[in-house]
C-alpha cells in the first residue's frame, strides 16, 4: 500500500469508559457483575453502562435498534465531532462507512429466536429481523449522517476492525470515497457470554471479585469505536495517526510477514494488540513480543479491551494514544488464534 495513505482525524467511542469523543482519560476499570440475565452465581464482564443516546447526540432515536446500532450512531457522531468536520460542507455521496464486527447485532438476533421459541416460526416478531442483520449498524450510520458512499460491514474472524480499516483505506486509495467512517464493535449478550463460558475461555476474574490475573482466560467486554479516516494529503489539521500500510493473512509466518512490512527494526514501535477472538489474546501478545523485541511498548489485553471481540485493537490504540504523548510508529495487530492475523502500521505524529 502507498505510504501515508490516510490519516485518522477523529475518534469516538462507546465503551465501558462511557461515550467519549477523542482520547480516553486514563483510569483503571474493574469488571462489573452481570445483571441483564440470570446467572448461576457471580458472573462479571466489562460492560457499557446504560445511557440515553439522545443525551449524547441530540435528536437520535434508537428505540427499536440493537444496542450495536445505537452505539455505532453515537460513536460515529462523536468521531465526526472530534474530527471537526462540518458535514454540511461535505459531499456525502463520497463518504464511506466501513464497520467491523464479530457477531453483528446479536441482541436482536437473539430476540428473533426468542419470538420463534415463544410463538413458533409462523409467529415471529418482524421488527428484530431486519434490525438484526449484521449490516444494520453501518446502514444506520449512513442514514443518520446521510452518507451515500460505499457501506460495508466486515466480519473477519478476530480482526474485523483491522480489516475494516484496511478496506476503508483501499476505498480512499482507489478514489471510491473521499472520507470514511470506520467502526468496530460488538455487544455482549447472554448467548455470547455463555458460549465463551462453555468453551472454557473465561478468566477466573469473571467468577470472583478479585483483581484480574495475568493470564488464564479473558474477561468479556463490549462497545463500539469509530475512527474518521481521510486521505493524508488532504488533511492539514491535526491527526492522531497516519495509516501507512497493512497486511492480513490466514497463515504463513506472521512474524516474518509483518517484519517485512515494517522494513527492519523499528525501535519506537508501540504495539496495540487487539485480542480479536478471545482465545487468541496470548497468541497476539506472543506475536507482538516477537515482532517488537524488548524495546517496544506493548499495549495489549488484560484490561478493559481484552474481551472486546472486534474493536479491541482500536480501543488499545486509543488507550495507547491516551496514556502518554507518543511519537514514532504503532502497530495495530489482531490475530485469530489459528494463524490468521491483520497488522497495520500507523505513524504517530
Amino acid at each position: 500500500m502507498t505510504s501515508n495513505l490516510a490519516a485518522i482525524t477523529g475518534i469516538g467511542s462507546v465503551s465501558p469508559y462511557g461515550p467519549i469523543a477523542g482520547l480516553i482519560p486514563t483510569c483503571t476499570l474493574e469488571p462489573e457483575p452481570i445483571t441483564a440475565w440470570p446467572t448461576a452465581g457471580l458472573r462479571r464482564a466489562f460492560l457499557v453502562k446504560p445511557f440515553r443516546p439522545a443525551d449524547v447526540v441530540p435528536g437520535l432515536k434508537t428505540r427499536r435498534l440493537d444496542r450495536l446500532s445505537a452505539w455505532a450512531l453515537v460513536a460515529s457522531s462523536l468521531a465526526i465531532q472530534d474530527a471537526g468536520i462540518d458535514m454540511s460542507r461535505v459531499d456525502r455521496s463520497r463518504v464511506a462507512v466501513v464497520f467491523g464486527t464479530g457477531f453483528g447485532c446479536a441482541e436482536l438476533t437473539d430476540a428473533f429466536f426468542q419470538s420463534a421459541a415463544a410463538n413458533g416460526w409462523s409467529g415471529t416478531d418482524p421488527s428484530p429481523f431486519p434490525e438484526g442483520l449484521a449490516n444494520a449498524p453501518a446502514s444506520h450510520v449512513a442514514l443518520w449522517h446521510a452518507l451515500r458512499g460505499p457501506n460495508i460491514t466486515m466480519g473477519s474472524k478476530g480482526f474485523a476492525g483491522e480489516s475494516a480499516l484496511i478496506q476503508a483505506a483501499s476505498l480512499l486509495r482507489h478514489g471510491q470515497a473521499d472520507l470514511a467512517i470506520v467502526l468496530a464493535g460488538d455487544t455482549l449478550t447472554r448467548a455470547v457470554y455463555e458460549w465463551y463460558e462453555a468453551a472454557g475461555l473465561l478468566s477466573p476474574a469473571c467468577y470472583d471479585a478479585e483483581p484480574l490475573p495475568e493470564s488464564g482466560g479473558f474477561v468479556p467486554s463490549e462497545g463500539v469505536v469509530a475512527l474518521v479516516l481521510e486521505p493524508a494529503s488532504r488533511r492539514e489539521a491535526r491527526s492522531y495517526a497516519h495509516f501507512s500500510s497493512g497486511r492480513c493473512a490466514a497463515g504463513g509466518d506472521a512474524v516474518e510477514i509483518i517484519g517485512a512490512m515494517l522494513g527492519g527494526a523499528v525501535p519506537s514501535l508501540t504495539v496495540c494488540a487487539g485480542n480479536g477472538a478471545p482465545c487468541a489474546a496470548s497468541t497476539t501478545a506472543a506475536v507482538a513480543r516477537e515482532i517488537s523485541g524488548h524495546d517496544a511498548a506493548i499495549v495489549h489485553a488484560q484490561g478493559v479491551a481484552a474481551g472486546l471481540a472486534d474493536a479491541g485493537a482500536f480501543l488499545h490504540l486509543i488507550l495507547a494514544l491516551s496514556s502518554q504523548p507518543r511519537s514514532g510508529q504503532a502497530l495495530l495487530l489482531g490475530t485469530s488464534g489459528d494463524g490468521g492475523f491483520a497488522a497495520l502500521l500507523l505513524e504517530l505524529p
Binding site: 455521496s93 429466536f113 426468542q114 431486519p130 446502514s139 452518507l147 460505499p150 466480519g155 473477519s156 482507489h174
Partner: protein, 431 residues
Amino acid sequence: MSSGRLLPVSDLRINDPRINDPRETIVVTGIGVVSPYGVGLDCLQAGMLAGKCCLSPTKDVYPGFDGTTAAVCGLPLPANGDSSRYSRSDQMAMLAARDAVENFDRDSAAFRESGVFMASTVAGLSEIEPAIAEDPAAWYRRGSGLARAASYPPAHVADAVGEHLGVRGPRCAVSAACASSAMAIALAANMLLDGAAPMMLAGGSDALCPFTLSGFSSLQALDPEPCRPFDVNRKGLNLGEGAAVLVLETLDAAKARSAEVLAVVRGWAMTNDAFHSTAPQAQGNGLADCMRLCMEMAEVSGDEVGYVNAHGTGTPLNDVAESNAYETAFRGRGRPVPVSSTKSYFGHCLGAAGALEAAITITAVRCGALLPTLRLTDPIESPNVEWLRGEVRREALPLAMSVSAGFGGSNTALIFGSGGFGDGGLRNGRS
C-alpha cells in the same frame, strides 16, 4: 466442472484500448457454482438456457412453511468436511470454491497465497434453533451445539473456504444483506489492485433456513406463488439458496500462468441509499448513482451495456425503485436497455445472489445469450428499459452489468466484458 466446459464462447474479440494495463485489469479465471440446478456452472447454464424453473412448494423441504422456494437438493458433502463444524452455508461455499479451482494448480505459490473474500447473511444461523434463546448454556451442551454455534459469524464461511482449499492469503468476510457477494467481488478486486494477494476467491453463500423463511414471511415480503419480477402483478419474492465463487486475478498474473480468461471485470461501484432500513428509495437514486459510477469506472457509456442482470426481487417496492434507477442511469441511451431478473428461475439467494448473478452475467457475455425473466406477462412501464421475456435472445454481448441491492440501502454494480484478448493463447492454456 465449471470453467472448462462452458458452452461455446461468442466469436467476439475485444481489443479495447481502454484495457491497456494488464496489471490494473482484473479478470475472472474460475467460476464455481452451487445452485438449485446442482453443482457447477454447466448445470446452471443448461437449466437456465432451457428455461427450467427450480421453484417448488416450500413445504416439500421445510414442512410447516407455506410458499415457494428453490432448494439445493442432495448436497454432496465436501470430501474432508466435518458436518458438526460446518454450516450448510459453509458447505455450499466449500463446494463452489472447489468447483471454481478444479483445474488450477493448487500447489503453486500463487494459489497458496490466494485470498478469500466471502459474503453471507445467513452463515451459521441455519444451524441454530430457537431453544438457544431460552437457555444458551443448555443448548450448547446438547449434542454439537457448541460447534454449531461457532459457525454463526459470516467470517466462518470465508474460513471454511480458506481451510478447505489450504490457502493462506487475506481472509475476509462481508455482510451487506442482499448486495453482499457482489460487494465481495468489488472489494476483492480492490485488494488485487492493492497487491494484497496474487489471486482472490470471491463470492457468497447462503442457505435456506427457518430463520430467513420466517423473517421474510413476518415482513410479508414473500410471494406464495412463483415470483414475477417486474410484472405489475408481482406480489413478492421467493427465497432460494446457493453459492458462487469467482477466481479473480490481474490480467498480468493470468497471462503469466497461461490461464483461461473467462471475463474481464470492467467496472465496479458501491453506494448507499441512506434512505430507510428496509425500503429502497423510490426513485432509485442510490442505485442509479451506483450504475453511473460503475460505467464511469469501466469508461463505457450506457449505449455500450448490452444487458443488465437486475436485482429484480419481485417485491412491489424494489422493482419500482429499480426500474426508476434504470430510467435515470440509462437516460439518453439510443435504445432501451435489455434487463431481466434471473431470480425468477431459482429465487433470491440473499448473500449469495450477487455472486450467482455475476456468474450468470458472465455466462450471458460468453454465450451471447440474454436470459428472459420468467412469468413476466405485464411489465412495469419503463420507456428506457426493454424487459426481456419469452425466449432466450442470442446476440453478441460485449459488456453486461449485474446489479445488486439490499436491506440497509446498499447497492453494488459490476460490469463484465468478454475475455477475448485476440488469439493470444489465453483460452486453452491452464496452469
